[in-house]
């Protein structure tokens, strides 16, 4: 019985990210749907960030006499956060490779834990940044500009928090069920989210921090 896919061809080479062990046509199809669905969700999420970026740009002038980027941002800290996130993308990439090419659960778990640690480190530095901004009077209620900043950057942070929780949940699933198909697609989808958040952060770093300090 065909599973309903028009182009249901045999073999497991249709989708480079998906050949997760022995091929099984029907199962592959539902997995492919999950990953595709997640991509679509990412597109919707990207619009969200895009609009917040645009709004931020229109609010640049709205400091209302309050502190602006030059008074509030520290390039060093923002740079550290950027580096942490970039490295975490690499470590997640290593996890994906371990998942795809080796039946080696230990290696996978180690890379995922390293990624998790980097994600948490990023959040730590981000919160520290916000704290020092608050100390300098950079609170969202101060001005339209700061409101725009705090509607954009923490939303990214919230996404990272969510991704970390998801990662822990996946590790838990792996402990209970082993490395089965749902865990594998879970990791695939989390990888998409993780790299996506990296890209969004690069936007934030360039536009908000570098742009603000230039």
């Amino acid at each position: 019985m065909s599973s309903g896919n028009t182009r249901a061809l045999e073999g497991n080479s249709r989708h480079p990210g998906l050949n997760l062990g022995p091929a099984h046509a029907q199962e592959e199809d539902t997995r492919e749907e999950m990953v595709f669905g997640f991509w679509v969700f990412m597109m919707s999420d990207l619009i969200l960030f895009g609009l917040l970026f645009a709004t931020y740009v229109t609010m640049l002038g709205g400091t209302a006499g309050g502190p602006g980027p030059k008074e509030l941002f520290e390039l060093k800290s923002a740079f550290i956060q950027t580096m942490i996130l970039l490295v975490s993308s690499v470590t997640f990439g290593m996890a994906s490779l371990a998942l795809k090419y080796r039946e080696d659960k230990a290696r996978l778990v180690v890379w995922l834990l390293v990624t998790l640690a980097l994600g948490l480190a990023f959040l730590f530095f981000e919160l520290k940044d916000f704290h020092s901004m608050f100390d300098k009077g950079g609170v969202p209620s101060r001005s339209g500009y700061l409101s725009a900043f705090f509607s954009l950057v923490p939303l990214h942070g919230l996404h990272v928090t969510g991704a970390c929780i998801w990662l822990v949940a996946l590790l838990g699933q792996m402990a209970v069920h082993g490395l089965d198909a749902p865990v594998k697609t879970g990791i695939l989808r989390l990888a998409i989210l993780w790299h996506f958040l990296d890209i969004v952060w690069i936007g934030i770093f360039s536009l908000v921090y570098l742009g603000g300090l230039s």
Binding site: D29, F41, L48, L51, R142, S143, S151
Partner: protein, 701 residues
């Protein structure tokens, strides 16, 4: 209020009860408004009690839980979406009648307070868009689209349940706001700064915010679900250009939902930050900029109107073809026109605020872009007319709606072109002319589309036809009522009457207002006819039984299975060789055949996720509205735990044995064989049991 009670109840106090202010203020006006509000609240409470008593009395709680609320079946979820839409439609029409009554006697006053009138147009607009139109079209697509593409379910059945739960939660929140008042007075658009905390500190705007947010999240998920389903789950051989037109419009609508809902999420989210965390995104002071809200809202708002109108376009395409006994004229052109409309819809949002300060050049550009949409739409109208041309037209109930649509919709389109001219818009914007224009699109377009779809596909879903006599009465009442209620508003708009006015001081308005009021009563009669139609149809269900499944000599796949369909839709996934796949089968004499072999079928298992997320979503929204923080945090945690726990589950499917599939299918085939095929002239009689004389044997074609 003591600290302890405010910790539990937040800012919810006795004064939220709709009769509270009446007890302090004994003026006639206050008492009249209090009585109306209390009556509405009483109806909500009584309605819920009646539903609970009825289900208990019938002993159907278990049935309701296991066969409906936790069912992942796209057909049942679709029907539940439509039930929500119909309940909310009734409420919003009653509110509209109250507004029309107020304005009919509104010379120098009337009987409603400005506050109450403001709540009425806000809830009416919000409900009609987010809790009538969206659930209705989501329900119809949910039901029909998988059947049309030969799929057994949507790609993500549990996510579909969650969408339903979120929409139900939003609708419930607007119902709760009748009992624990007030709702917002900021209109369905909720423009700041009026909706900012400094001007509107009460709970009303927050009700509106969270109701809309729940609906937006639901629609985003729905859009993803529909798009992925259409891309990934089509039956073998159903290439994109063999998809039925309704499925095409469903696809374009889904794409619009994916890209069109986020701007609203951003707009309402930022407004919520302003209201709850003292942000200054849209405030009048400290660098806020309310124009950002207006842009974001309409970056959603205009795609939204095409989310609302594309599915009806698809529905009418099916109906014109079916009841003209012809293949649709210009299939490819219709597809291309649909895509053009979907893309253009993102380029015109500025026409909603021509008067808000941008330069004439920008206005001109957006005016022209707006008029461009008239071209693909016009193409569609011609295609529909050419489909009817030289067809053997049967004036069935769906067809009456369709013809009403085509004439009235063109008229509304013309007034749209008028409004798209910025210099004209300066004269009539914010007047009743605009109200007349968009109702002219939404009632003949969206609502007639939904009602004709209901008449068309109801026999598929429930196995019996809707009674036609009351169906015609409803349809004609809708058409006449619409014209009476809204054509006068064009005149009033040109005479200068602003929208959202509780009262006026111009005696010339009165005759037009009274005419519009009569129209609203005719519309109320139309609603009544719909209810009677449903009642009569259920009463006569045995006589009008169409188990064989094809009462209208249908063309697309869904008509080739039993009515109602088995939960797995297709015992064997069909292979597709052309558009109008089922008609092709019938032409070749290959309809209603047994497959060579049957296989086990794997279907999604029941899940309580939709119910859980619906309840926690409602609890969070309610807690946020009344500042009950414990409720917000608690419900949030439950949501998180539920989602994570769901990830640990592994038995998400169940299997239906091949022998059972075979038994069901062969029983149906036997019944089809026993059903007497009828000619199209007998379509509306009790001899129609769902099997047409095949075209090949000389039936109308």
């Amino acid at each position: 209020m003591s600290d302890a009670t405010s910790l539990i109840f937040g800012r919810l106090g006795w004064d939220a009860l709709p009769f509270w202010s009446m007890l302090d203020d004994h003026s006639a006006m206050s008492i009249i408004n209090g009585v109306i509000a209390t009556g509405a609240a009483g109806m909500v409470v009584l309605g819920i009690l009646a539903a609970i008593v009825l289900v208990t009395w019938l002993g159907k709680w278990k049935y309701l839980w296991s066969k409906w609320l936790t069912s992942p079946d796209h057909k049942k979820i679709g029907i539940m979406f439509i039930v929500i839409a119909l309940v909310m439609l009734s409420r919003a029409i009653i509110e509209a009648v109250f507004m029309r009554a107020q304005q009919a006697v509104g010379l120098d006053g009337g009987f409603l307070t400005a506050e109450h009138f403001g709540e009425l147009f806000t809830t009416h607009g919000t409900i009609m868009i987010f809790f009538m139109a969206m659930p209705f079209l989501t329900g119809i697509i949910n039901y029909v689209m998988p059947l049309q593409i030969g799929a057994r379910d949507l790609s993500f059945p549990v996510m579909n349940q969650i969408s339903l739960g979120l929409t139900a939660a939003g609708a419930a929140l607007t119902m709760i706001s009748l009992v624990l008042a007030p709702f917002s007075t900021g209109g369905w658009t909720g423009y700041p700064p009026f909706t900012e905390l400094s001007y509107n500190p009460g709970a009303g705007v927050d009700y509106w915010l969270w109701a809309v947010t729940l609906s937006t999240l639901s629609s985003t998920l729905t859009g993803i679900n529909f798009a992925v389903t259409i891309f990934k789950k089509r039956a073998p051989g159903m290439t994109l250009f063999r998809m039925p037109l309704f499925t095409w419009t469903a696809l374009c609508t889904a794409i619009l939902m994916i890209f069109g809902m986020p701007p609203l999420t951003v707009a309402t989210g930022l407004l919520a930050l302003d209201r709850y965390l003292d942000f200054h995104m849209f405030t009048t002071d400290l660098g806020g900029n309310m124009m950002n809200y207006v842009n974001l809202l309409w970056a959603f708002g205009h795609p939204e109107v095409y989310i609302l109108i594309l599915p009806p376009f698809g529905i009418f395409s099916e109906i014109f073809a079916t009841f003209s006994g012809k293949r649709i004229y210009g299939y490819k052109i219709l597809v291309i026109a649909t895509m053009c409309i979907a893309i253009l819809s993102f380029t015109v949002w500025l026409h909603h605020f021509f008067t808000m300060g941008q330069s004439a050049h920008i206005n001109a550009a957006f005016g022209i872009a707006t008029m461009l949409i008239g071209i693909p739409t016009g193409v569609k109208v011609y295609d529909w007319m050419l489909t009817m041309y030289r067809g053997r037209i049967r004036l069935s109930v769906p067809m009456v709606y369709a013809i009403g649509f085509i004439m009235l919709f063109v008229l509304g389109g013309m007034t749209g072109i008028i409004l798209a001219t910025p210099s004209v818009d300066y004269q009539v914007h914010n007047s009743l002319f605009l109200i007349a224009h968009f109702h002219n699109m939404l009632i003949p377009g969206l609502l007639f589309g939904m009602l004709s779809a209901t008449n068309f596909w109801f026999p598929k879903a429930f196995g019996f036809r809707l009674e036609e006599r009351w169906g015609y009465r409803a349809a004609f009442c809708w058409i006449i009522g619409f014209m009476l209620a809204f054509f006068p508003l064009y005149v009033l708009g040109l005479m200068g009457m602003p929208r959202r006015s509780v009262a006026y001081f111009e005696p010339q308005y009165v005759p037009w207002m009274i005419t519009a009021g009569i129209g609203a009563l005719v519309i109320l009669a139309a609603l009544l006819c719909l209810l009677i139609q449903l009642w009569v149809s259920i009463r006569d269900r045995h006589a009008n039984n169409v188990f064989a499944g094809d009462p209208w000599d249908g063309r697309t796949l869904e008509w080739g299975i039993s009515s109602p369909p088995p939960e797995y839709n297709f015992p064997v996934i069909p292979e597709i060789y052309s558009i109008d796949a089922f008609m092709t089968e019938k032409d070749r004499g290959q309809g209603w055949q047994a497959p060579d072999r049957y296989d086990d079928i794997e279907m999604p298992a029941n899940s309580a996720m939709g119910v859980i997320i619906g309840i926690t979503g409602l609890a969070m929204a309610f807690g946020l509205t009344w500042y009950m923080w414990w409720l917000v945090i608690g419900a949030g945690l439950v949501t998180l735990v539920a989602v994570i726990a769901r990830g640990f589950g592994r038995t998400t499917t169940r299997t239906i044995a091949a022998c059972e599939v075979q038994r069901t299918h062969e029983h149906w085939l036997e019944q089809v064989r026993l059903t007497h095929p009828i000619d199209r002239s007998l379509e509306q009689t009790t001899s129609n049991h769902g099997r047409p004389v095949p075209p090949i044997e000389g039936a109308v074609q």
